[in-house]
């Protein structure tokens, strides 16, 4: 009992509370918390290899992107709050998906004061390298609730090549 108390006291104040509030294992959530801390300290997610470096500044709007895949397709989701489907331009070359657009600042009439400006505006380009060849004719993009979702089916040859190797027990 005494040892436990000592450990808790030695820890940085607040750390244990932070970990408990997170879901899942306390160690992974602590690691996630640390990563987030470092990320925000070093200028947002600009450390990510897929984010354009030249942008860097906190003011420019850079959408966040999630990429997921199954055996048959790749899905790209980008958070684009405040944009209209007409403001978004999605293009595809053989191995890169490019999302372009502009988040326009709402024009408020005269006599408007800002208290707080946390949201960012401006034009952006994100190029996402695709890990495998995709069927460019069957790519679909939808925009709903401020989230763009692009579904890229893999080409038949890619699907064929990926073969599951059965692991046998002896």
């Amino acid at each position: 009992m005494a040892t436990k108390k000592e450990i808790v006291q030695k820890g940085r104040p607040g750390t244990d509370i932070e970990a408990r509030r997170e879901w899942g294992s306390p160690f992974t959530s602590l690691q996630r918390e640390m990563n987030r801390l470092f990320d925000s300290f070093l200028g947002g997610s600009s450390l990510s290899p897929w984010l354009p470096f030249e942008r860097g500044g906190a003011e420019a709007f850079t959408p966040r992107v999630d990429v997921s895949e199954t055996e048959r397709e790749i899905k790209v989701a980008a958070e684009l709050p405040g944009l209209d489907e007409n403001d978004i331009d999605v293009s595809l070359t053989r191995d890169t998906l490019t999302i372009k657009g502009e988040k326009k600042e709402e024009k408020e009439e005269k006599g408007t004061d800002y208290y707080r400006m946390e949201r960012s505006y401006g034009s952006f380009t994100r190029s996402i390298p695709l890990p495998v060849e995709v069927d460019t004719d069957k790519v679909e993009a939808t925009f709903k609730k401020g989230v763009l979702r692009v579904t890229l089916p893999k080409t038949a040859s890619v699907i064929e090549k990926t073969k599951k190797v059965a692991v046998k027990s002896k």
Partner: protein
């Protein structure tokens, strides 16, 4: 300047016991003041008008936006920059706001709250006449 910010202030550190197993994020907001109202804009991508709850209790205006995860089960995440989760943020508003006329709209993942100022505090311009 300091006088103005009294109308809407962020309420920090609200600890709420949660019943859903998702992460909760603080949405980015812009707060602007016009002559007759205060406007709060919040980025809540993934939430729609039917999943946003706005409550006003005493002086605390709380925004809670639920996000339904849309990554299908079979998909494996290979690159993640944002987490899926709900949005929550609370603000303390002063008596200068006309509470019965607060309006909220959600479009393209942006919540827009219009908080009209009550008649009593609206700035009136008084014309100065030559005597």
């Amino acid at each position: 300047m300091a006088d103005k910010t009294k109308a809407v202030q962020e309420k920090e550190n609200i600890q709420v016991e949660r019943t859903r197993s998702t992460n909760v994020y603080t949405p980015d907001v812009d707060i602007l003041e016009k002559e007759d109202s205060i406007i709060v804009l919040a980025d809540i991508p993934g939430a729609s008008e039917s999943t946003v709850d706005i409550t006003l209790e005493k002086d605390v205006l709380s925004i809670y936006a639920r996000v339904e995860p849309e990554v299908p089960e079979k998909h494996q995440l290979i690159h993640a920059e944002y987490g899926i989760g709900d949005y929550q943020r609370s603000f303390t508003i002063s008596n200068e706001i006309d509470r019965d006329k607060i309006e909220a709209t959600v479009k393209n993942g942006v919540l827009r709250l219009v908080l009209p100022k009550s008649k009593a505090v609206q700035t009136r311009k008084i014309a100065v006449q030559a005597g």
